[in-house]
Symmetry: C2
Subunit: 209 residues, 2 copies
DNA sequence: CAGTAAATACCTAAATCTAGGTATTTCATT
DNA sequence: AATGAAATACCTAGATTTAGGTATTTACTG
């Protein structure tokens, strides 16, 4: 019997996954959470074999949660559920030591297979994920290091994505436009993107919007 | 007995929803599709009471599918399943005549309630959706009309979102930078967004990336 | 207490985007 | 053959972003 804990910010997905496994003998859902913070709290008292984790979440995203759990020295296997097949993320995830990754457009069968594989000490990456990964493996290696935006930076990313100009943001936050400029520059550097478009794209991929 | 057809590009969501309703007496899933094109084909022979439809899909998105079905004069109720609570979309959807809209972070209970409401001739919008809608209802009304980008425009939107500048795009497509400029302007006008950031956001919401 | 991360602010020059136009060619449809 | 949409191209002025810096204050952490 494999004991699973599901973390996903969409209740429908949690309910769905629960229902899928309700009819599967060897797998049992022992709990779920709608975000990273809730997951951490609940995992204090629960100890699943496999953690089924969504990447794109508000509050604390999947990667942060993985880090926190590793930091606590938890011995559990992690299977990532992701929307976008983004090599940037996948690389980061592997670096963080997760055991597998399936796209949300995978089917029930794949999901069950991935979970058993992982529970038996294996690894599982959807074909598509693996392929995209290989393609981009030779590219910028330093991009792997942790991209962590500060609270203020996240705030500014959101405002930019919502079409506010530097001046508007400055006024809204009651700070100098120069400061907003500086933040924007820092963000672009941190994310390794080229311009505003990349920044907005990131905001989406990261689930900030 | 309410007969449902599910359209969502994520197999996990389809499987999940199927499982959820497997244990609900009055609701039955009679079919599903992973994209608009497949849905249209399958709906030629199927006639569900309610269509459960994801907005963000590749190939043919939810709105396009709704239009096509209305054009065919199909008599069916449509419940939208959406990720983002975007008033722009909601307005468009209402204009297209859909019966309801639930966010993907709604739970099983809400989903079931929404479906029965709609099947009984009612309408159902998640509280959050309704609220966001009201807030933005006084804003630009003309934005409701169909936003349809041409092939070339879509191409350019993608390149912009991928962080290419006007000059780079011009070179890549072997056209003048002036032309790219014109396209960008037209796109910004069509979408009713303010700047490049809005354009990239749109690309994501529309599922272009 | 020393060190560091975060947030703040300033400066300049160059690149890029935005807004307001006008105008021609191509292609498909009526 | 005419209409209209799509794609193309050009022009100018002003706004905004980008790249390269430097520097101060605050707050937490070892």
């Amino acid at each position: 019997m494999i004991r699973i804990f599901v973390v996903d910010d969409h209740q429908v997905v949690i309910d769905g996954i629960s229902s899928i496994f309700a009819e599967v003998e060897e797998i049992k859902i022992i709990g779920s959470a709608l975000n990273g913070v809730e997951a951490l709290r609940k995992l204090e008292t629960e100890s699943p074999d496999v953690l089924l984790l969504d990447i794109n979440m508000p509050e604390m995203d999947g990667i942060q949660l993985v880090r926190e759990l590793k930091k606590q020295g938890r011995e559990l296997k992690i299977l990532i559920l992701t929307m976008h097949n983004n090599p940037q993320f996948t690389k980061q995830l592997i670096a963080e030591g997760v055991q597998g990754c399936v796209l949300k457009n995978a089917g029930k069968k794949d999901l069950i297979y991935a979970i058993s594989e992982i529970n038996n000490g294996g690894r599982y990456y959807t074909d598509a994920v693996e392929e995209t990964l290989k393609e981009s493996l030779d590219k910028t290696q330093e991009a792997i290091n942790q991209v962590q935006l500060t609270k203020r930076e996240v705030e500014i990313v959101k405002l930019i994505a919502l079409e506010h100009t530097t001046n508007e943001i400055a006024e809204k936050l009651s700070i100098s436009a120069y400061t907003v400029d500086t933040h924007r520059k820092n963000i672009i550097n941190k994310l390794g993107v080229k311009n505003l478009a990349g920044l907005v794209r990131f905001a989406f991929e990261k689930g900030l919007l």
